[in-house]
Symmetry: C2
Subunit: 215 residues, 2 copies
């Protein structure tokens, strides 16, 4: 496993998707070929082989990959032996939804605390994690060596929150606010563009009405 090699963002984006598929078929299939995976997702099988080469040897001729082995290999690759603590800013419904979700541990990420500027939620806990006032962000980050921040505040506040987090040493930002964030080199922003999915679904319904459809 090439733990120290650089891996493209697109490969990293696809590996969790393959993992969902492998978990989906594991009770019905002991083996799967790269071609089988490629056909399911309607992508090129050369691409699938390249992606899987990052975590596994190549599949065997005729039988392909052993599903259970491939699942374990992808999980090991995506998981981290050392867990990273993240903080979340903006404990509204979306923020609380993310705090309530325990599946992030698979990726070596744990939300350890949230921050909100509303007195109404500060002092409460969500899924055992405290919601704290904005004032405490700097001290918390310094004491806990926080490197990842999750931004679930409204658009107008997102940039100032982002500046504050990166000022505290955060180098990876997961941004749910539908806006562009400026960051210094070395900081990675991953934007969750819910709007892109909606555009596709909305268009599918309208194209269905007029007949045409294209993948």
């Amino acid at each position: 496993m090439k733990t120290n090699a650089t891996v493209s963002k697109q490969t990293l984006r696809r590996l969790p998707v393959y993992l969902h598929y492998l978990n989906f078929i594991k009770n019905d299939a002991a083996n799967i070929s790269a071609t089988g995976i490629a056909e399911f997702f309607d992508i090129n099988d050369v691409q699938v082989r390249k992606d899987l080469a990052v975590v596994s040897g190549s599949g065997r001729p005729k039988t392909g990959y052993v599903v259970a082995e491939l699942i374990a290999q992808i999980e090991e690759f995506l998981g981290s032996r050392t867990e990273t603590d993240a903080i979340l800013v903006g404990a509204g419904n979306l923020g609380r939804a993310l705090m309530s979700y325990n599946g992030f541990a698979e990726y070596g990420i744990s939300i350890s605390a949230a921050f909100d500027k509303s007195d109404g939620v500060c002092g409460t806990t969500v899924n055992g994690k405290p919601v704290l006032p904005y004032d405490g962000i700097e001290e918390y980050c310094a004491h806990n060596d926080i490197q990842m921040g999750i931004i679930t505040v409204p658009v107008g506040e997102a940039q100032s929150v982002c500046d504050r987090l990166t000022g505290c040493g955060v180098r990876a930002v997961w941004n749910f606010a539908p806006t562009i964030l400026r960051v210094a080199p070395g900081v990675l922003v991953e934007n969750e563009n819910l709007a892109s999915s909606l555009a596709i679904l909305s268009r599918h319904l309208r194209e269905g009405e007029s007949g045409g459809e294209k993948n």
Copy 2:
């Protein structure tokens, strides 16, 4: 504007992202070139030109596109003159976050009701929208011609909820459960893969530690 033409999923995915960028620069720039947009997102400018050709004429030599015009054209393309009502199943924190968000109207989508199997939340409203018991799904869909469903239930319930929705005539499914859903031809499932973003962020932090990094 090619309202009846087929447009690729990838173009549909990028248009809302361009829109965020254009709104971000509109106070500082009257014009923008395809090359300028391409450089910001680190993608090919030929691709940007092709994407924008779906909603606009080509940019003018030297000056490019008028930012305000391009914003209006993308908004008109992504929006729908006829609003589509969607229902949401699973009114937990994530479901309620989506119900609370009013930005979906830009894409011609309105969540009109949610359904949940827990007595505790049924009968409540979120952002003025009712949370109703599972029993009522079929009747509600039939009476309101519902074509889009949003699934925010746990993994184990996602397929049965999906079957129930498509059985009611739903043709577009926005799936937040981290699993693969089987649907009949003609039904589009758009999976919101939060795990893919996490994989990228987590890897960025680990690559930073070992030195290497690749975009």
